[in-house]
Symmetry: C2
């Protein structure tokens, strides 16, 4: 008998699963429903439509060959029926039917299924604040949002915009508006730094510095209280610290999985109201699959259920569901949490747990952040790369890595290499030190920055030196009046002269001169050493140790990290 | 008692192991000897000095901070003695001494050791052909070679050069000479295509096409017989097919590990005369370590001893040896074989086994090569990427991946992600389909090309379609007079018109028109479908199958692969 499949949700996972199922089993009677008009669009591309990098909105719902993916396309080319503008109202698991309403006619009917796929996605969280319903308050989820935002910019209606929320969508939107439209953008983020859910503070500061360098105002640790309007339109945003002018507001305060249909029919739910699925991407009802932004999955690192709404996971999961709908037994292992984002000059990427995540999940963990050139130091083209590695103490198991660099693709290379290993093995620090990534001078250093991250974590775990972060160094410096620390600048001769001229506490002591000058270093106080990246200061520390000076801390990432975080001014 | 360590070899692994050992155990009495004058230089940078991208030769033997790594540097800053211009003559394992000769004074002496490190490297293979000793016949291993080659170019002595050998060094040298010095370069390679030891033929052809596009003459399947001279200087190269003019010849015909010292003292030797080591990087004598280009290690994929002389492996191994010299127990897992190279516009990278390696190692393997854009198709900046995946049939175990793209760093990202998994797990095709690499439109596609490589291998292994390579398609086309195959061009309307106008055998049948036109496809002959990358042709194949047309082959990589191999002219 011909199998009946109903798929609820027409973006990313839904169409992917449907196409795959039909490819494997062309006889399937498959119906996809979606309550919106437009389906199967690349939601991740919306910021690039806003910025103008993508010219026409249709590009986001077209194949590689400019064929628009509308219901007719799927019927004709893929062999299944799409009913857009059709809302799923309820699932009757006993009768195996979905109650749907045609939003055009208002007519309701029951769709029978043998297998059901929930691809209902997630919706942006709307803050319950006054003014949230004003004209020109947008989210950035649907094609229509992007179109309206861009039209407002094109028509010259927007000189100031406020983004509420400093996560992925918020920052991509900020870059799009500032870069293309010269809009003065402010990002208001309640957390203490940007992307705090997915980044450690140092990399969050680097993100903020890149935005500020391009005239985006970053307001962290600031709560949005109200959106104010004039004649029904947005006029500004009131936070707990200030009032910001705005003719346009984008709410990017996170997502809420659309799990209500599943919950109402009694399926097992996971974190944040997402549908819990097993490795075959089945919900607690084996005839109902779920995936993408409405589903929760096992976090491979913690072993616990987690939620990560990313288009790439949706697509890969869609293929698995399609295979299994057609009788296959493919599995999806869960997720480690790999992502990347491009800001202005800076790219940021990550995989696995941040130090905060790790500790919250119960790991006794440390993290170290290294800075190194991404290519051979003698090769003319190269960029700095910051990589933070998160490690469990006793086992030395690597739990995650986060990084930032202007070399976007090169950063992806390092993070993805670790992501793959995290996904299918439980690497230790030694295994990252030995990670066999490709090398040639135009691509990498022979001892590559990703290996060095492992090496430094190894040294810190082994107690070979006491590490402080570049942020901590800055803080120690600011507290120098009370802590009496002896600060050493171990960079090459001449570096730091301005600081040394101004402050007697700043001691220029280049690594090369240390063999002759170590007696200048006091033995009765703590020493803090800084260099350009943390490597020369490490050698300085070892050299001092040979001479019995052991109360020494080494600033990881050095001046490069300080500069990238925009903290250089705090030294002056 | 203070431990005595002797290290033989002063490039890459030797200094790295020595520095690490001294960092962990500053009391070590360590002596490094090297028969050359210059030590601790970045040999991988030599082509970039030849090309002029690196201005001064000292950059290759300097730290990040322009400090030259000479014997004094190591003594003063790192705490060990370097004796350059000193040759190791013999190892007495019973007495635990190394007989050395000072090449300046001729004086010989015995250096006692508790632990010995063999970091003797490899030497270029000199072909035993007449003329190999002529002036201006070089290898590219030492600083002096690079200096002499560049001087010859700078002085305008070189209009034509011949590179003997189409491997890494040969191709990097070819690019350097042609790119910077406008030298007319010919590469003579005995094998049927470039980099045949480490690449499948299709990617070897892509490498050749990139070189030819930049006026490098590529002579494959051609044996060098003689170098001819005039007044003691090179004048040309005679192959079994032609005589090439040349004022400069670079021999890049592979490397021979310097294993003689080890062999003479009875250590266990591995493939190609390299020193066999265990996971602690100890030779068969536990007091003698070896690593880098003189050592053989376990190939993780085959489980058998292998040899891979790469600077990146040397550096990582150096750290392990340094740790173990200082009493540690770190291990090195072996290698999977990850590398990358930048030609003119094209970068090539690989990890694990090629299809030929896999079959030679006894695997019943297949390979498929996919072509896809490296970023979201709607994102304005993007490049094609070719990825070949090698898979064992029954187990579906992934054995290797090779790729080519103009996006050098992005290619590295895909290959390194697979490299990490190959190193620490035994991934199947499904695990590459699910590989959680980072996604955002400026970095990747939601269903990324690396995942697609897994997907296509899955489909081929499952017998979902019959794949042929783009090369095989071209061959079928050339044999069309006898094979009677029906050729379909499934690209969008209009593509392939020139071919269709010229040849009645070339049928333009865009995927979109196939639902209405499938009856035009004969059922009594084999069908071969081509599109731009292999995706539309796959959908065409599935659509034909629905209508009972099943004798169909699909050209993987499509026209993109044909173009990148420079085979487009063979269709015309």
């Amino acid at each position: 008998m011909q199998q009946k499949v109903v798929v609820i949700g027409g973006v990313a996972l839904g169409p992917k699963a449907s196409c795959r199922c039909l490819r494997l089993n062309p006889d399937t009677d498959l119906t996809l429903i979606d309550e919106n008009n437009f389906i199967s669009y690349g939601g991740c591309g919306l910021p690039y439509y806003v910025s103008g990098e993508i010219q026409a909105l249709d590009a986001l719902r077209s194949t590689n060959y400019q064929v628009v993916r509308d219901p007719d396309f799927f019927a004709r080319m893929k062999g299944f029926q799409v009913r857009n503008n059709t809302r799923a109202l309820a699932i009757d698991r006993k009768a195996k039917t979905v109650r749907v309403r045609d939003l055009g006619t208002g007519q309701e009917s029951d769709l029978p299924y043998d297998k059901l796929v929930l691809a209902t996605g997630a919706r942006p969280r709307i803050l319950p604040i006054p003014g949230a319903d004003l004209q020109n308050v947008f989210t950035l989820t649907h094609l229509e949002d992007a179109q309206a935002i861009r039209q407002n910019c094109e028509q010259g209606h927007v000189t100031d915009a406020v983004i509420i929320g400093g996560g992925f969508i918020g920052l991509e939107a900020a870059v799009a508006l500032a870069d293309m439209w010269d809009v003065h953008v402010s990002v208001v983020e309640m957390g203490n730094y940007l992307m705090g859910q997915v980044l450690p503070s140092n990399l969050g500061l680097m993100a903020a510095h890149d935005l500020r360098q391009h005239n985006v105002q970053v307001c962290t640790g600031e709560k949005t209280l109200q959106i104010i309007g004039q004649d029904g339109k947005v006029a500004g945003v009131v936070t707990d610290k200030q009032t910001l002018k705005a003719q346009l507001v984008i709410m990017a305060a996170g997502f809420i999985p659309n799990g209500e249909l599943a919950q109402a029919c009694g399926l097992e739910m996971g974190p944040r109201g997402a549908i819990m699925v097993d490795e075959y991407l089945r919900s607690s009802d084996p005839d109902i699959y779920a995936g993408g932004d409405c589903a929760a999955m096992r976090n491979i690192i913690t072993g616990k259920p987690g939620y990560l709404p990313l288009g790439s996971l949706s697509n890969r999961q869609g293929r698995i569901i399609g295979t299994n709908l057609a009788g296959g037994q493919d599995t999806f292992p869960g997720f480690v949490g790999t992502w990347c984002i491009k800001l202005f000059d800076l790219a940021i990427a990550a995989t696995g747990l941040t130090i905060d995540h790790a500790r919250n999940a119960g790991f006794d963990a440390i993290s170290v952040c290294v800075e190194q050139l991404d290519r051979a130091h003698f090769y003319p083209e190269k960029e700095m790369m910051a990589l933070e590695i998160v490690v469990e103490k006793g086992t030395r198991r690597v739990l995650g890595m986060q990084g930032a660099s202007q070399n976007a693709q090169g950063l992806k290379a390092r993070v993805d290499a670790v992501a793959g290993v995290l996904q299918y093995a439980k690497p230790t620090v030694l295994e990252i030190s030995n990670l066999e990534v490709g090398y040639a001078p135009p691509f990498a250093a022979a001892m590559d920055v990703v290996n060095v991250a492992g090496n430094v974590a190894d040294n810190v775990l082994a107690g070979r030196f006491q590490a402080i972060s570049a942020q901590e160094f800055v803080q120690l410096w600011q507290e120098r009046a009370t802590n009496q620390i002896f600060f050493i600048d171990a960079r090459p001769k001449g570096a730091g002269k301005a600081l040394a001229d101004k402050y007697s506490e700043w001691h220029m002591l280049p690594l090369e001169e240390l063999p002759d000058r170590f007696r200048e270093v006091p033995t009765d106080r703590q020493i803090a050493i800084l260099c350009n990246t943390g490597l020369r200061s490490y050698d300085s520390l070892l050299m001092l140790a040979k001479h019995g000076v052991t109360n020494v801390v080494n600033a990881l990432g050095g001046m490069q990290a300080i500069k990238q975080m925009g903290l250089e001014t705090k030294l002056q």
